[in-house]
Amino acid sequence: MRGDSDQSLTLVYLARLRDAFGASGERVVLPPDIATAGALRAWLAARGGPWATELAPGRTVRIAVNHDIAQPDTPVRPGDEVALLPPVTGG
């Protein structure tokens, strides 16, 4: 159980994005004004380097919040698992 004081959420990076970012994920505490999937993406892109490249507005990256595909206005909250997915290539 997480305490009420833990304001972090879990980020998961998959496939090509994991390679580009050099990590399979991390825990972050979001600034108060970052409250949606779209805002989170822009916040990460502002890190620059591979983040800016991979998450540039034209790049197709889907975001899943707690295992459901999210839209830019989908809320993200502490305790959520938020995954960044490159275009899928299964089947």
Partner: protein
């Protein structure tokens, strides 16, 4: 309805026999089997590594099967997708559907496969003589899935 993500190979005959069981309502069984090709985008493929997003994958596949069940008159469906290292000619995916008549079975099977290709979180990495590379998504797969789409904008 059965959804499985597994490293092991599967026996198509056994899976389809189990799918239809002894259900006398079944008049049609449609199945699709996806296999590994040895050439992709002009490169020789020696090995394919499939990864997925555990937790979301099962949920996404179950959702796709539920969509198919809502749209067509089908009795049962199975989706098996392999992950891990695969070689050319290996089986990757099985979709099987039972129905009273072939029309529903064919359509639901194709729908499940089209949606799986564009919505289920699997990724392929190829080993070729030139090195290892992530496989690019194909616009033709999005087009195939969009044929079934009645709600524009969902592909964002």
């Amino acid at each position: 309805m059965t959804v499985r993500v597994q490293r092991e190979d599967f026996d198509v005959g056994r899976e389809l026999a189990a799918l239809r069981g002894a259900d006398p309502r079944v008049g049609a069984v449609a199945a699709f089997i996806g296999t590994v090709r040895d050439v992709n985008d002009d490169a020789n493929v020696k090995k394919l590594t499939l990864e997925h997003y555990p937790g979301m994958t099962e949920k996404a596949l179950a959702g796709i099967v539920a969509d198919a069940t809502a749209r067509w008159d089908i009795f049962d469906a199975i989706v098996i997708h392999r992950v891990g290292e695969l070689a050319p000619a290996d089986q990757i995916v099985l979709v099987g559907v039972t129905s009273a008549h072939r029309g529903d079975a064919f359509a639901a099977c194709e729908f499940i496969m089209d949606y799986l290709k564009t919505r289920a979180p699997f990724w392929k990495k190829e080993s070729t003589p030139e090195g290892i590379r992530w496989v690019d998504a194909r616009a033709s797969d999005e087009d195939a899935a969009a044929r079934w789409n009645e709600t524009p904008g969902e592909n964002a």
